[in-house]
Symmetry: C2
Subunit: 218 residues, 2 copies
């Protein structure tokens, strides 16, 4: 599969690119700054041992599946010019509406969630799936690290959600269907709670696990 | 400790009363209908093997620690007349702002969360701790059932939160500090997600577990 990572030069994009490239997908790292994405792609190609491409966010948006990895504050302006390119595409929204510096306090954005705002910004034409809000970018980029938490996945397009659940399995994690896109509000809101717990219990990358689903495979 | 359960004749109240009574606490089940609470208390006293009292919600509110177990739609009107009685008290808010019949879709109430609305309804004078949103009332009332999930606890009053964490341990569960009261929004919003998963995966009482805290004891 061709997978594009919008804002893919950050920490989340790095881990996703490495793990999906190793699983056999063709990756395009996108950035506002194409030269930066190309440099990042060259470096990650070396780590992954397979070719990873880089370009502007438009190049990433041209892929079959597109993951949005930008900070919340940049989401609306990043997506606006990509409306046509993303129409009909499976768009994985990882964005969490954190309000720095208070990243351990829940903040619900005006649109209900970052994912619902992305849906609006793309005129409802993309197949948005919200996921990967609770994944430690540090652990994700460490290919030797076994991921402990589940990935909760919300979306209104059932076939798109199934494809994303498969891609999550290839990251080495268990995906769990969390319901319609409106439920992304809950998933996004759990990130500041986990960041609070990291601080309180002196951990890195605490995650969520659904208790009672132990027999369900990744 | 004296623990009062406002709206304690429902399923959640039943399990809390049984487990806390067995742990040695003095329980007062409260209801709008005192006769109904007294009948419920008599029945539960037999099950628990210790005396459980019943009365109106005012009798429950007179206890040292008070748990609010009413449905969301009844919270504001139930708390209003109890303002004076609850001033300075530790109030455990279990209320989840579900929107029946769509209980598997997240809905954020106007006040941000049921717990923040309770804080407002009580003029900011109670020591509110939001907790126990993800506990299956079926499993809780079954004294033989080992509880699998964690209990996430949010509140602005640190000593009150510590006392509630202790009470949760006595229910047979692990309590985890989830941060300030504003984070109750996330905890409440996860309940419709878990209800969705129960339906999707054909389970009863799925819960949440924090991954990466396995070495932290209940």
């Amino acid at each position: 599969m061709n997978i594009g990572l919008i804002g893919g030069t950050g920490k989340e994009g790095r881990g996703l690119a490495l793990r999906w490239a190793r699983a056999g997908h063709r990756i395009v790292i996108g950035s506002r700054d194409a030269a930066r994405a190309e440099a990042s792609a060259r470096e990650l190609s070396g780590v992954a041992g397979v070719e990873i491409a880089g370009g502007d966010n438009g190049a990433a948006a041209a892929c079959e599946v597109v993951a949005v990895c930008v900070p919340y504050a940049a989401q609306a302006e990043t997506l606006a010019p990509l409306r046509a390119a993303l129409a009909g595409k499976i768009v994985i929204d990882l964005v969490v509406p954190l309000a720095p510096p208070q990243v351990t306090r829940v903040r619900i954005p005006d649109g209900g969630s970052a994912a619902l705002e992305a849906h609006q910004a793309l005129d409802g034409a993309a197949r948005i799936v919200a996921a990967l809000h609770h994944v430690s970018s540090v652990h994700l980029a460490d290919l030797g690290h076994a991921m402990a938490g589940d990935v909760l996945v919300a979306g209104d397009d059932a076939p798109a959600k199934e494809i994303v659940l498969g891609l999550i399995r290839e990251l080495g994690m268990r995906g769990v269907d969390a319901g319609p896109l409106v439920n992304a509000t809950a998933l996004e809101a759990m990130t500041p709670v986990l960041l609070y717990m990291n601080k309180k219990y002196k951990r890195v990358g605490l995650g969520l696990r659904i208790a009672g689903l132990e027999d369900v495979e990744a």
